[in-house]
Amino acid sequence: MKFLRSIGLMLALSGVAGYATTAHAEREMNPEAKDLILKGDAKCTGCHDEADEPEPSMLELHPGVLRIGKTKHGTKADGRTPTCTDCHGESLDHLNYKGSDKPPRPDRVFIKPGLSSAEVRNAACSSCHAKDIQRSHWAGSVHDTRGVACNDCHKIHSAEDRVRDKRTQAEVCYTCHKQQRTAMNKPSHHPVPEGKMSCSDCHNAHGSVGPKLMKRDSVVETCYTCHMEKRGPFVHNHQPVDEDCSICHEPHGTVTESLLKARPPFLCQSCHTPHGAFPPGVATGPAGPGLSGQPGWWNSSAITQGRGCLNCHTQVHGSNNPGLATPTPQRLFR
């Protein structure tokens, strides 16, 4: 009897569970599509929902459309937040397609290499972002004139926009700027590979009035934002310091210490003629029997062999040392 009661109870439970499943399925089958993320997105998310999510991958080249909800473009509380059609266009041909083939593309698609031109894609972004002062020099900038589109660097639907993360930004830039990737991997480099700096600390990729898209109006002004001790003013300036740091330095990286383009004295001698004779008191070689009278100790060869310009000219960026008079001028000495 107890056995039969148990069977009956189980059958009853199975029936209830089956009914509940059917009822749940019916409840879920709501023919009216509702906005999922953005205001008015139902016309798009009715088809493009979580099913658009790609297979998991490390690169996330094409994040699912609903990921927009994790980005600033998905902030519904902000009245400026756009909806799908603000960027992709009304796309009526795409929306109203009834055929069995693939529907026509939306008005604006942001797929590399780009079924929509860079101008068309950028126009969608600049309709809101053109007012941003950081992007005021985009028109006519190198990136603009060479057909770079915003989404070539930015991932709009991804919460992880790699170019906006200091640790990963350089990898995005390196996809085009391969020479800079090589330089950054040389022994002497700015700490970009270590994640302490990013390309945008010096460059404004959205355009600037300076050369090489420098953030400030010149190379030196940009360098001075961190290396302010090189700015001066000094009693005696070293002209390249005022003119362009990259005359002596390769900022992305070199095999010479201090990011120098070449080792002293060769770097120095690319502008300065080799040293003339030294007075005996400043001679670099020991005086003594068998040594005196050898020209090597009196001219620049010893300095060259010792790589020693900076042994005396320690203040190459500028000096306040007043001693410029002969016989022992102390240019750029401490």
């Binding site: 107890k2 056995f3 148990s6 069977i7 189980m10 059958l11 199975s14 059917t22 399925a25 879920e28 089958m29 709501n30 023919p31 599509a33 009715g46 088809c47 493009h48 929902d49 099913a51 658009d52 009834k98 055929g99 069995s100 083939d101 693939k102």
Partner: protein, 115 residues
């Protein structure tokens, strides 16, 4: 430890009921989903919610107990592009799938009908 014969029998009976009520999974779910995703089936259908087309669970309920008929109907829809009625009442040609392999088509239909 004393084993209650009635309890064991009850458990065995319940297990038998569940085994009989669930169909044998003679299909590759991952392959079916992959084929459906590749062909944008999920643009119009979802497993458990109504989009432009009916949910797969609704189709499975419709053909419950008539699996052979359901399989034929599904394969006809995805291979011959008939006009189908959408959930909003309008009509549209059904999309044609990019494979003609009967095994793949049957596998997809079997997965849908199993939901």
């Amino acid at each position: 430890m004393k084993i209650n014969f009635v309890s064991v029998t009850t458990l065995a009976a319940v297990a038998a009921i569940f085994m009989l009520s669930s169909p044998a999974r003679a299909f590759d779910e991952d392959a079916a989903k992959s084929l459906a995703k590749r062909n944008d089936c999920f643009k119009c259908h979802a497993v458990d919610k109504t989009k432009k087309g009916p949910a797969y669970k609704k189709i499975a309920v419709k053909y419950k107990g008539k699996e052979a008929e359901g399989e034929a109907a599904i394969i006809k829809n995805i291979t011959t592009a008939p006009m189908v009625k959408l959930e909003d009442g309008t009509q549209q040609e059904h999309k044609v799938i990019d494979t003609k392999n009967p095994a793949e088509l049957k596998n997809l239909a079997a997965w849908i009908l199993s939901l």
